[in-house]
Symmetry: C2
Subunit: 396 residues, 2 copies
């Protein structure tokens, strides 16, 4: 995918001494003119200082944004008054370095909970970043927000009407629907009203970042930011299908990239639930399957042990008629390849071929409940030895 520059935006990603080796560890994104901005944030009751800070900033009437600064190493969560003071200092110093007002700077933090920001490295880091800004450094910025990610995550769409949407994201563990240890910044040079920006981000997030499960954990820091500076002159109207489509594509690409790079993940699995009485039931059952350790280890082992899938559906908290259940294994294109269960009982299928399909990197499941017309889906990954290795000794 070509990552297009966005008119009037610059980015930077550098090593500023927050990581022990020489990996990039701080990012800065700047718009030369003020942006309208929309944000979606974690629903965790324990919110990091930058989340509280950004939410307040964007809630102010007529809020405008010029810059987004991001650090790794510390999530700046559970850090009390000092943590909030540090976030304000980061915004103020960034404003000074790039020449804007402090209330035009959004702050993102990711890393370990409960340690203060290393201000001694961050403050000079901001100065370095301000000096390194270029229109083409989106890849550097994406690299600079990685934690347990193994690769940077970028997406970009150039709309026919002449504007661009480019985004970066990070996240690999603590990923659950309704936001994740996940940061995303999406920039566009389209001219978009605040109302369309807010509604558009909410819709795009609902079909992308809120549809992914790595481990079912939900972070204190999850944030998706969308900035629009209007520099291309391309205007977006209300109900503009082209803009929403492009935004959905960028968000979907980034969200899928997070699951594909899930901690220890070896497989990308789409879990569909159809025939549900309503969407809530479909989503809850899909989530129950996507978070079940027994299902996820069976995915890892390429084991069509469908009993675990039916069992996970059965404890999701919604009534089922077991003898109406049907389950299909889907191929990488999402098409039914094997029917594993028919009317709640084992179907006759080619098990070695099903195992071979599940050994591949991308496939899916569709569970039909036989109860109604509603459906929903999630994207998830498997639970591997490497997940345990990564998280058993992440910090110490």
């Amino acid at each position: 995918m070509t990552i297009n520059p966005v008119e009037g935006f610059k980015a930077a990603g550098l090593h500023c001494g927050l990581k022990a080796d020489d990996q990039k560890d701080m990012a800065l994104i700047l718009s030369e003119r003020p942006c309208r901005a929309a944000g979606v944030f974690t629903t965790n009751q324990v919110k990091a200082a930058p989340v509280i800070y950004d939410q307040a900033l964007l809630a102010a009437p007529g809020a405008q944004v010029r810059a987004v600064v991001a650090n790794t190493h510390s999530a700046n969560a559970c850090t009390g008054e000092q943590g909030m003071t540090n976030t304000r200092l980061v915004a103020a110093h960034t404003a000074q370095a790039v020449g804007c007002r402090p209330d035009e700077v959004l702050v993102l933090s990711t890393g370990v909970i409960g340690i203060q920001l290393p201000m001694g490295a961050i403050v000079p880091g901001i100065d370095q970043l301000a000096g390194a800004l270029t229109p083409d450094a989106w890849g550097d910025a994406a690299s600079a927000i990685m934690t347990t990610d193994t690769r940077p995550k970028l997406a970009s769409v150039k709309a026919g009407s002449g504007y661009t949407i480019t985004g970066i994201a990070k996240g690999a563990g603590m990923i659950a629907p309704h936001m994740a240890t996940m940061l995303a910044v999406i920039a566009t040079d389209a001219e978009v009203s605040q109302g369309v920006l807010n509604a558009g981000l909410r819709q795009a997030t609902g079909h992308s970042f809120n549809r992914i499960v790595v481990d079912g954990d939900m972070s204190t820091n999850d944030t998706v930011l969308l900035l629009a500076n209007g520099a291309s002159g391309g205007a977006v109207e209300e109900d503009d299908g082209e803009f929403q489509g492009a935004l959905n594509e960028v968000c979907t690409t980034l969200a899928q990239a997070i699951v594909r790079d899930g901690e220890g993940a070896t497989k990308f699995v789409t879990v569909q639930v159809s025939g549900a009485p309503d969407e809530d039931a479909a989503r809850a059952i899909a989530r129950s399957i996507a978070t079940s350790p027994l299902c996820k280890t069976a995915f890892y082992g390429a084991d069509p042990n469908w009993g675990r899938v039916l069992s996970a559906a059965g404890y999701a908290g919604f009534p089922l008629e077991p003898d109406r259940l049907a389950l299909w294994l889907l191929d990488g294109a999402g098409e039914p390849a094997f029917q594993l269960v028919e009317r709640g009982e084992p179907a006759d299928y080619d098990e070695p071929a099903a195992i071979a399909l599940m050994g591949g990197p991308e496939w899916g499941l569709r569970l039909d409940l036989g109860l109604g017309e509603a459906s929903d889906w999630l994207w998830t990954c498997d639970l591997s030895h490497d997940y345990v290795t990564i998280n058993g000794h992440y910090r110490t």
Copy 2:
């Protein structure tokens, strides 16, 4: 713990050809006189045939039980009409072999979902078991219901009033509160009314089997049976503290044994939540912590990464005041050893000593919410490489 025989009960556990090697794979428990019986069953919407069968049998007015027969290999879940027919055949053949009525036989199955009972091995197995019954074979019976368990689980209490309660259990994966892939059979020679038996089992289960989490999965087959044949002559009155205490002790010992032998478990962790506005909140937050893969891998890695604990509390679905949170690491006796978090911020503690404590086999956490007086707790284990190994390739 001494495993006491129970007057009028006999047990057997044998290899009947259901497992590939020569491990014991079927169990039979028989009372020479009719028992009152109580049962607690899975709340999974997808219920195995023997669960449906046993529930119906115990729901009949004046139900009496003489025998319990258990098989491994097949869970007899998602097996349709044939599965239910096979359960009836197992009960009928057991009745014939031991000389009682078919409606006096309860059936337990555990193993893979979606495969039929291997009746060709089970039917002669029942005959062998009937010929092997002795008062002292509780250990054999406990061994014969193991699946991924690494050791048999037994508990026994001899009450001062002259009766005995002895129980066996199995279960290692698919363990969650509100029942687990877990079977337990508890026998007593006390004389107990049906009402006391039902209420006593419900209370004992609530404080034992419903307080354990291995992986958060809930099985199609979970069953706890309590049989009382009155053979000792020891009569239990309503509100009999001695009986309830003894029953609680047997259930607690069995439930803890399941967690200690959790799939891949290296640590037994008690998760307490105090200072909650009500017990529902306390239990939901304890469960969120006990099922979080990030918390469980940190337990495995002996990493006092308490941010994951606060984060898991924060997404449990109940309002929190983050700056009131306090977290303690508890020693093996349940006493506070280190305060990790104070008013939502890092407390000053001896981290190497905390890591050393967490490296041991048994410790706990207490999270105080600072919101009220209610508290609750769960027992859980860590998530290790071996869990993934066991479940990634259990079936294939």
